[in-house]
């Protein structure tokens, strides 16, 4: 079969002039490459060492590298068409490494792959298949970039077009060599054409965003890992990202790796609602800073190159970091810039200062007296955790002080009591420090984390359960800097685990429930009706009655992207009604607008993030929105009112937490 295929025929003999010319051009190309790449390399190298960086565990790094770089899995999974086109080009480049080396070595008669040999024959055809795939891929990307033109790619970049043509020319000249005899002048011309394209391509790499070819494999490998992993501050002069001196090697490497694909911007809730923040521009701003001033500059990072306002518009939803195909970790950068501004007192914002002062002097982000929490605990006879119970039920600011947050807690309490699971609430609780951590106030965060760690240790706390994904994340990951936090779990995980018991109970209790009639719910002010509940129940027992409540689940950023919990809350929703998915769900979920401390800041510029998301959720046709985070809940409460006002006549959409869904099936005399 192979015999019928043409053989790659490249010139075998080069004249002295050709050899000298090749060496001279190759040296010039290498020189042009290094003239640009050298300074970049040095800037990365001479950036500050990353505090807290460790190569171990290496397994995670290798796994990420194989998954994200070798297999291109992230690129493909999040943008399949462009992703596959990109992967074809990437894999072709890998396949071509050997071919290109051999091609250049030929000029010096050092070639090591014989086209007639078994391996050579196989390999050149192997590469040819990739060349065809690459040509198709690059053509697709060219069409996308110059004709489809998605808006997040930004302005048309002629250099990208030129590079695409070079890649296309490389593939064409390679394939042509199968059909042109190597010995005559056409063979030599073809060889030279391929070589010249190569030598032009090389110096263009560091001059354009194609620098990611060289850097991003390293960026992915050396990434901090984890999600939004905020590095510790090192020494007495580290306040976060203040000037060039604070840019670490990882940050600089990431800044130079950006391929400007705009995935971060495409998914950014701030950017999508008309705000100034553009995560891609933040990274490119750092790159421009490094290009102009370098990593030793005392010039502030926020100012000419990046704006403070943009940095403080981030909800820390992490869509950018999740999407980034070249391993850029946007959150440590954005939070780092905020740390720089807040830790030095540069950030002046009346709402922000109010939040900070409330937490300097009080215990909660809402600025309410702690006595309100005590009253809530007393009124509902919640036991105090003393180390003997199974769970320490962490109330959090929302669960302890916010009326809707309290309802969620009470639903969960009813479920735990029903299941006979022992629990207690901490006698004293301070804010976990989530909003101040994300806003970059390290002083306050440390005080809150240490104070909480101490009182939890005093109570011999082993296992924490919380209704708030922000609390869960902050306790589990961010507190680690100051001690060993107890095990912590979000209530969606707890509920999913106990779902069989809950559903079994509900089936047995059905007649009792049906008799109980409306009202009498264990939480005053609950707005879900018993009749509807009974209907769901009947539906569960007799599948032909399928008038199930359509419930759309909103993935909280801090539960999904931060904690990788997607299925558990869905299981709870599915047990209560028909699960409906919003267009953007799971990893691609769109923020409610509350994260990053923004729930406590003033009115946002542009459109409200919460309104955009609420409209999307309502457009699914669901009659109920299920949240799993008290912050999402509070954002949607207002937003849904707004959305329903704009849809006169449409049925109102209910808003519940998954704990409230799970508690619906309880025999209601509990508690």
């Amino acid at each position: 079969m192979c015999a019928s295929l043409p053989t790659l025929a490249e010139p075998q003999h080069f004249s002295l002039i050709e050899r000298v010319l090749f060496l001279a051009l190759a040296a010039a190309s290498a020189w042009a490459f290094w003239r640009r790449f050298g300074p970049i390399f040095n800037k990365i190298l001479h950036s500050k060492k990353d505090p807290g960086f460790s190569l171990a565990p290496i397994g995670r790094r290798v796994r990420d590298f194989v998954w994200e770089v070798v297999l291109q899995a992230k690129v493909i999974s999040q943008r399949p068409l462009a992703g596959i086109a990109h992967a074809l080009v990437f894999w072709a480049f890998c396949a071509f490494a050997l071919v290109t080396l051999n091609h250049c070595a030929q000029a010096l008669s050092l070639d090591f792959l014989a086209p007639q040999g078994r391996f050579g024959r196989f390999y050149f055809w192997f590469a040819a298949v990739f060349a065809l795939a690459c040509s198709a891929g690059i053509l697709g990307l060219f069409i996308r970039r110059f004709f489809v033109r998605p808006k997040w790619l930004g302005q048309i970049s002629p250099e990208s077009g030129f590079i695409a043509m070079l890649i296309f020319a490389l593939m064409a000249t390679y394939l042509a060599a199968f059909y042109v005899a190597g010995t005559g002048w056409p063979g030599h011309a073809l060889w030279w054409a391929h070589t010249l394209v190569l030598l032009v391509f090389l110096p263009l790499i560091p001059h354009t965003k194609h620098l990611h070819l060289l850097l991003s494999p390293f960026t992915v490998f050396f990434s901090r890992g984890g999600f939004s992993k905020i590095p510790p501050l090192a020494g007495d002069e580290d306040f976060g990202l203040v000037t060039g001196r604070d840019l670490t090697q990882i940050v600089s490497l990431q800044a130079y790796s950006c391929v400007e694909c705009g995935r971060c911007t495409e998914h950014c809730p701030a950017n999508n609602t008309g705000k100034e923040l553009n995560p891609k521009e933040i990274v490119l701003g750092l790159r421009a800073y490094l290009n102009d001033l370098g990593p030793q500059s005392e010039e502030p990072l926020l100012g000419k190159y990046n704006s403070q306002q943009a940095a403080f518009e981030c909800t820390t939803c992490g869509a950018c970091e999740f999407q980034c195909p070249v391993g850029i970790e946007h959150l440590p950068i954005l939070v780092g810039l905020r740390r720089g501004a807040v830790n030095t007192g540069e950030w002046e914002d009346s709402h922000g200062a109010k939040l900070f002062l409330a937490l300097e002097r009080g215990s909660n982000a809402l600025g309410l007296p702690a006595a309100e929490r005590d009253k809530f605990i007393e009124k509902n006879a919640l036991p105090i955790y003393d180390g003997s119970q199974e769970y320490c039920l962490w109330l959090g600011c929302m669960g302890a002080y916010d009326p809707r947050g309290r309802e969620i807690v009470l639903s969960l309490v009813a479920i735990m009591r029903h299941l006979g699971i022992t629990f207690g609430v901490p006698r004293k609780e301070k804010c976990t420090g989530d909003p101040v951590r994300r806003l970059g106030n390290d002083l306050l965060f440390q005080q809150l984390a240490e104070s909480n760690l101490e009182s939890l240790a005093q109570a011999r706390t082993k296992k924490i359960l919380s209704i708030c994904p922000h609390c869960v994340r902050t306790i589990q990951e961010d507190w680690k800097e100051f001690g060993a936090p107890p095990e912590v779990e979000h209530h969606s995980e707890f509920l999913a685990r106990h779902l069989p018991e809950l559903n079994l109970v509900s089936g047995l209790d059905l007649p009792h429930q049906a008799k109980s009639g409306p009202g009498g719910s264990f939480v005053s002010g609950h707005d879900f009706s018993r009749a509807e509940n009974a209907q769901t129940m009947t539906g569960a027992l007799a599948p032909e009655v399928t008038n199930k409540e359509r419930i759309v689940f909103h993935d909280p950023c801090y539960l999904g992207r931060y904690r990788n919990v997607y299925d558990q809350p869905r299981a709870v929703v599915a047990s209560a009604g028909e699960l409906v998915e919003a267009p953007r769900h799971r990893e691609r979920s769109f923020c409610c607008g509350a994260g990053g401390g923004l729930a406590f800041l003033g009115e946002e510029g542009g459109e409200r993030v919460s309104h955009v998301r609420a409209a999307e959720l309502v457009a699914t046709g669901a009659t109920t929105v299920a949240a799993a985070c008290p912050f999402c809940n509070t954002m949607f409460r207002d937003a849904l009112t707004q959305v329903s006002e704009s849809r006169p006549g449409a049925p109102t959409v209910q808003l519940v937490d998954i704990a409230q869904l799970a508690a619906r099936n309880l025999p209601h005399e509990t508690n």
Binding site: F239, G345, A353, L357, L443
Partner: protein
């Protein structure tokens, strides 16, 4: 301008109030401590005056060791140095006793301006600042919400009742007691805390301040206000009941 700000450390607002066994003091075992809020505004005013006119801000606080944390907080927010009058018997001193300590500590500094909160959040006597002024023989003004430096002295804005304000000019040196809310407070920063570590804190024992006179007032007994609720139903027609109600409001409750 050399400004001294006298600050007091008070129990955090959420602190549980329990009477100690001797019925003469509050049980402090469970307390966390904070800067008295009007004093925080006095500090803010001082820092803003310094930022506008240059000079030095010195914080002054009397109390036991624990007061150190509040002093550091003030230094972190921007004060240049501190004087800590170390005294363990502040609870048994009245406003005059405390003011004597403060005045003695202030004298050798010869400041241009002394600021303090108009009252403390715990005892709320509202006297310490003005007594300090008297002891130092300086002009003073109370309930200040705005301070402006002029060529000859100060122009200040006082808060009166019912939304009225009074504008006063007074010479320097002077003592002002500051009302909360005149400015926006700044938050403490990590950089501030780190810088504060190297700022000097001069500790002086209360006993070394000479006129540490015995308190004029002695405290007999303290008690929590008793919670009482009584309801009376006034019988008769609406007219009779209304008449009885007026009678009671006039002579029993004395609110009419």
């Amino acid at each position: 301008m050399k400004i001294i700000v006298a600050i007091k450390q008070v129990p955090e607002r959420d602190a549980p109030v329990r009477i100690a066994a001797n019925h003469k003091s509050i049980d402090e075992a469970d307390h966390q401590w904070a800067m008295n809020e009007p004093d925080a505004y006095a500090l803010e005013e001082a820092l803003q005056l310094k930022e506008k006119n240059g000079g030095e801000v010195i914080v002054l606080s009397a109390g036991p060791e624990r007061v150190g944390s509040t002093i550091r907080e003030a230094l972190a927010k921007g004060a240049d140095r501190a004087i800590h009058v170390v005294s363990d018997d502040l609870a048994s001193r009245d406003a005059l006793g405390t003011a004597r300590l403060l005045a003695e500590a202030i004298k050798p500094e010869n400041p241009d301006l002394v600021l303090t909160g108009l009252q403390s959040e715990d005892l709320g006597l509202g006297q310490t600042g003005v007594i300090v002024a008297e002891l130092l023989g300086l002009p003073h003004s109370t309930l200040i919400v705005q301070v402006e430096k002029t060529d000859t002295g100060l122009k200040v804005k006082r808060e009166l009742e019912e939304g009225w304000f009074q504008h006063i000019e007074l010479p320097l040196p002077a003592v002002l007691t500051i009302q909360s809310g005149g400015n926006k407070l700044r938050y403490a920063t990590l950089m501030g805390i780190k810088r504060a570590k190297t700022k000097p804190v001069h500790a002086v024992a209360a006993a070394d301040l000479g006129s540490a006179a015995a308190p004029v007032l002695t405290l007999e007994h303290i008690a929590l206000p008793s919670k009482q609720k009584s309801t009376q139903i006034l019988p008769g027609s609406a007219k009779e009941a209304a008449a009885a109600l007026v009678e009671k409001l006039k002579f029993e409750a004395r609110v009419l």
